[in-house]
Amino acid sequence: MTDNNATTLSADHFAWRHLGPRPGDIDSMLGTLGYDSLDALVDAAVPEEIRLERPLDLPAGVSELEVLRALRTIADKNEVYRSYIGMGYADTVVPPVIQRNVLENPGWYTAYTPYQAEISQGRLEALLNYQTMVADLTGFDIANASLLDEGTAAAEAMAMCLAISRSKEPPVFLVDAGCHPQTAAVVETRAEARGIEVRVGEPDEFSYGPGVIGVLLQYPASDGQVRDYRQVIERAQEAGALVTVAADLLSLALLTPPAELGADMAVGNTQRFGVPLGYGGPHAAYFATKDAHRRHVPGRIIGVTQDSKGRPALRMAVQTREQHIRREKATSNICTAQVLLAVMAGMYAVYHGPDGIKRIAERVHRYTAALAEALRGLGYELVHEAFFDTLAVAMDETKAAKVHAAARKRRINLRELAADRVGLTLDEATTLDELATLVEVFALGKKTQASVEDLAAHVASAIPAGLERTSPILAHQCFNRYHSETEMMRYLKRLENRDLALNSAMIPLGSCTMKLNAAVEMAAVSWPEFNGLHPFVPREQAAGYTDLFGQLEQWLAEITGFAAISLQPNAGAQGEFAGLMVIRAYHRARGEQHRDVCLIPKSAHGTNPASAVMAGMKVVVVKTDEQGNVEMDDLRRQADAHRDKLAALMITYPSTHGVFESTIREICGIVHESGGQVYMDGANMNALVGISRPADIGADVLHLNLHKTFCIPHGGGGPGMGPIGVAEHLVPHLPDHPVVPLDVPQSCGTISAAPFGSPSILPISWAYIALMGAAGLTEATKVAILNANYVARRLKGQFELLYAGRDGLIAHECILDTRPFKQSAGIDVSDIATRLMDYGFHAPTVSFPVPGTLMVEPTESESKEELDRFVDAMAAIRGEIRDVEEGRADPEDNVLHNAPHTLEDVAADEWNHPYPRELAAFPSSQTREHKVWPAVGRADAAYGDRNLVCTCPPIEEYEPAGAV
């Protein structure tokens, strides 16, 4: 590298691979901007008063080889015991064809949430399969495209009960004592903040006073019992309550599904459908309900619609339910979900089909029944005679201790249900040999009689008559045609080819930070030492994870300036909720529970107001000025007006408009003076790492999107991780966990089902920081700022840039004003977004934070060549708009209105447009070499929302459109 770009990074540093622009490019880009070094640019762009004046105190970056060796050392400290702990997590066999072609394939894991439907038809179809699978197995009409975990899914169901209920009484939610303890804890935390009283009890003894909005049942119960809930459900509904059943998805292949029992909703984990345990995650939770409640369903729903030519097309449906539109009136704050894991679970059902899924469920059940028989033969008493895969075995305390000790000796974990009760859950991976070992464990040296093999061959079902499933499952063709590995592999490839992911082109989505997810960072995700641990194993078996968490927390604390980090929140929105709950607990601990006003700038991400409402706060909107900055006078006025009730301010920094607000310290000061706490949304942390620290600026809490700044891939809409950092005075209020106590004295409660969120993806962020080191991370931030400013400068003549800070510079993203073209050419922002697909690009963020505009965030990983290609495409599109403006192109029948053009369209015998096919198909020379063809024409969102279909359509609709 040359001297004048002020970098010390060399070619053997990983940063050299992570960063897009080559050293010479950096010089020429700086030249375009008129700065002679990266530091000079950053000095000009970033206000001096927020700068960190020293290097981050982090280890120097290591090589790819070294990072893998270091991770191997950590991994070896984790002990992979065979866990039969259950509680919503069961071992599974990940079909290798899915592991290799989905989990380990950048074509799937680097995609974004499918907002641009026409270049996302592959994962939209995969998600529709997933929804169909969930709807089929639960018996309901409609399922969403995943939630974060079973605990939060149950809490979402409760929020939905509250939204639907018309009762004026103080709300009460009844929870089955047989629920998994982590589910009950998450529900209680969420309920308390919303003023809902939770009563835990035996379902048969529930009393339905006024105000009971809903009931949560576990099916089968956490200790394995299978009960017929029909009467409970009937009684609850007669009293006006809605009933949610948290159901094990595999058991539903054999059991009467929740909908047929009469329930209103079902939730649960889909992990055991081919997704590794991962020490707690990531996994997709499902949510299903009746069609009548469809407008209240939380999270994303994939729906069927038609494209501009009447062909079937998929896209995200009824988005008006969601936080990005409904803000503080949304019933849920969920944004990032668990798409990659939902895709895997859905594909597991596609691969195994109805017979395969039934066979697996039957085997698991038969083995469990055989084990029950063997245990009875040993003189044990089973607490429940009706079960699916889980047994509760009664014995005196001394014997229970001996059984657990015998199990440990064989590297087996059983569940400590109670001092005198041992629990165990079998799973798909259980073999007859393992069954024999389990019998030996319980035999405690006694000679065993019958062989498990014989027992398994002849044992009777333990599913009660009347609860056996009679309705068919997975009847749709997609579950019945890809059962050979060759067919499956090709199906996955076919879907992958319909989608634009980072392995095809840049995805310049503002506020989403679609940077490189390096292969080396991904490697450890597949290691059994990381992904084979049950979340509730004894802590000493997860010593490697403890080291990894400790180091990662320490590094993130140094990067942000905070005293402590909680890894529990599973996504950014979840981090917001957790952070606000910490603030709430802090005010309460000081006797200031009346502090419940949350100030939020108008330009905030929609999750902010939705999270504030979930945390029991009242949202007060603060105005932003023409530059997109917080209007200081209005902030002072609002802070003053709510002085006695101010709980918090939520602010994004750099702002959602991509600008370093120079007043940020003053903003924090005003809030503190009025007794409030500052919550900083870390969505834009990619512009800060190494050059400024939120805690130093004045923030009290911050969430980090590890799936943005710290390289966890977006997975097509999840997994994410949203850990929070907090200042010293808030440390006593961090999240805790009922099963794995975290030693927090005045905790805000339980945020996620698993104590450390989604651990198996944390090695990705760990590896990124270890590889980059302090210098590399800081360099990445500077290059992110350089890339954004370079794109902004090059586009400046073509498009109006909406906001800028000092010296006309921006932070790491910029907003292009495309609104004037509506008037001048009848072109709106979606015409431009879809036309970009013809050029082989994914559109920037559409209509956020300013409706009708595009927000571009290139990240540091994009090369100058790719940035130039994108800028050239945008400039060419500007030219096409000018052709319409100046009458050279038809005002209606033009390339923009008709975009995107499919291969089928441009190859059709008939071509009636006034522009050539070539302009439609290959608008730039690069597109001749490679582009992802849009699989469908413009998806008609209104048609789909007016005619909602959220499960796989009958197969004939996929037949060639011929006559259409």
């Binding site: 407008r295 009824v318 988005q319 008006t320 539109i325 409904r326 009136k329 209509s847 969102a941 209104a942 929302d945 007016r946």
Partner: protein, 128 residues
Amino acid sequence: MSDIPENLHYTEEHEYVKPVDDATVTVGITDYAQGELGDVVYVDLPEVGSKFAPMDVFGTIEAVKAVSELFSPVAGEVVEINQAIEGDPGIVNRDPYGEGWMIKLQLEGANALSSLMSPADYAQHIGE
């Protein structure tokens, strides 16, 4: 330019009031409002018999990427709702002042309409 019929009364929130007789009116959203929302996909209407004070929320309207509350321009009791909207929400876009009406209100109190905007005022309000 959006259509602003002369014989109607308007609110700042873009509802219109159309007198049916001395005691009843129909309420809907203006042509300008439907244009701003885009394709309407769902309208949540109140039950017949509901009573509203001026500027109470009587329902919500959803387009593909927007949702908006509907405000009762005047005090009154709902005597009829437009059932046709449920099956075909697009009529709000196609014919906001005719087939796309939303609720029929029995007025409460005299001079209820005097506080509403005139067509000219409304035109100015939306900058046309």
